[in-house]
Symmetry: C2
Subunit: 200 residues, 2 copies
DNA sequence: CTGTTTCAATACGCAGGCGTATGGAAGCCA
DNA sequence: TGGCTTCCATACGCCTGCGTATTGAAACAG
């Protein structure tokens, strides 16, 4: 066999998606400002020349990465948990799922890091709005008033955002909580009113 | 009195503290990376020449700002609230005070933004450790087990960190909560076990 | 009035990152 | 074989920010 017809090109060419994926990882780890063309090219083993063939400029890459994330998002939360009937269960499942999706949590925290950046603001705002609205609905479905539902949803969301910010900034601080599910259970117990009175 | 003896110089010279204060404000608003010598000099109406007379380099300014913040910190929380006898009240007062000190909350959130920076990490870590430890003690004083106290303290701290992160990143999201004290009260109610059963 | 100290302006060199321009090599197509 | 397309390298100019060196000017001290 005259060599199994290697890859089309002797050395595989980079696709646009390769760049986006690399950028996404970089954002999750070091934030937007770390997405620099030249270092990124270096890491991918090519030069700027390649980048500027695939993209018009740096902004285009950043937007592509954020866009990809947002797509995943909408495909995720809202659609998956709206199906659960019992609102109490829905809330708990939602909470657990949110905290367990560490990948997503890290990316979200990274966006918070770059929240000043006008490019990320719209994405951050939309994600927050969508999640918060979903939480409010869930709490209202439990019979809570608008005000109460808002407060609780915000509390839950702040606890979520704060958790992943801490995970990012001072992961040592979380070592105390080896049992994440216990932590989340406590959050759920604290926020979701029990059917029957539920002692701590 | 023959003119209140104007300022020593016709145009007031900048002090080292002026630079530190300006840097502190900048950090609170835009994070560490915004503390750049030349733009800062421009904002203060002078040039780099002034800066490098007062400071050895950029790092020295940053450390000075962080140091000043840390000093305020230790002078604050620990000393002021350890005096309150009733642990239940102590916790609530602490929570309210923490959320009401918006200035400090913003600065803390800004540090979270720059959490990758090796210069801020130690400060962030010490602040987190101190506050968390204080919270754990407070909860333990209520008779909770070590594990429970840790979980609740972390929960409270995450809610705190998350709140100010949201305030920073998507302040619009918090407009729903016009009543901050109601929000904090809910947090306190959720986390501090009531003496007698305490309906929402 | 002279010298010293304190604070600041100016000018310079350097590095990193963006974007452009241009050339080139490998595959595909005829 | 020649040409077109795809992907990338190289080289360049630009801007921003750091840090240094040197000069300068106002206050103070004698």
């Amino acid at each position: 066999m005259s060599a199994p017809k290697k890859t089309p090109r002797s050395i595989v060419p980079l696709s646009r998606e390769d760049w986006v994926k690399a950028a996404t990882n970089l954002i999750a780890q070091e934030g937007i400002q770390a997405v620099a063309v030249e270092p990124l090219a270096l890491a991918l083993g090519v030069t700027k020349g390649s980048f500027y063939w695939h993209f018009h400029n740096r902004d285009e890459l950043i937007h592509a990465a954020l866009e990809a994330w947002e797509q995943d998002q909408s495909a995720d939360v809202v659609t998956r948990y709206a199906g659960i009937e019992d609102p109490r269960r829905r809330l708990r499942v939602l909470l657990f799922a949110a905290f367990e999706d560490v990948e997503n949590g890290r990316f979200f925290a990274a966006l918070g890091v770059s929240s000043e950046d006008p490019r990320v603001q719209p994405y951050l705002w939309r994600a927050t709005e969508r999640r918060l609205a979903f939480g409010v609905e869930a709490f209202k479905a439990l019979g809570l008033s608008e005000t109460e539902a808002r407060q609780r949803a915000l509390l839950a969301y702040a606890a979520y955002a704060g958790y992943f910010q801490l995970l990012r900034a001072t992961p040592e601080a979380l070592e105390a909580v080896t049992d994440l599910s216990g932590y989340v259970r406590r959050l759920a117990d604290a926020l979701v009113p029990a059917k029957a009175a539920r002692p701590s």
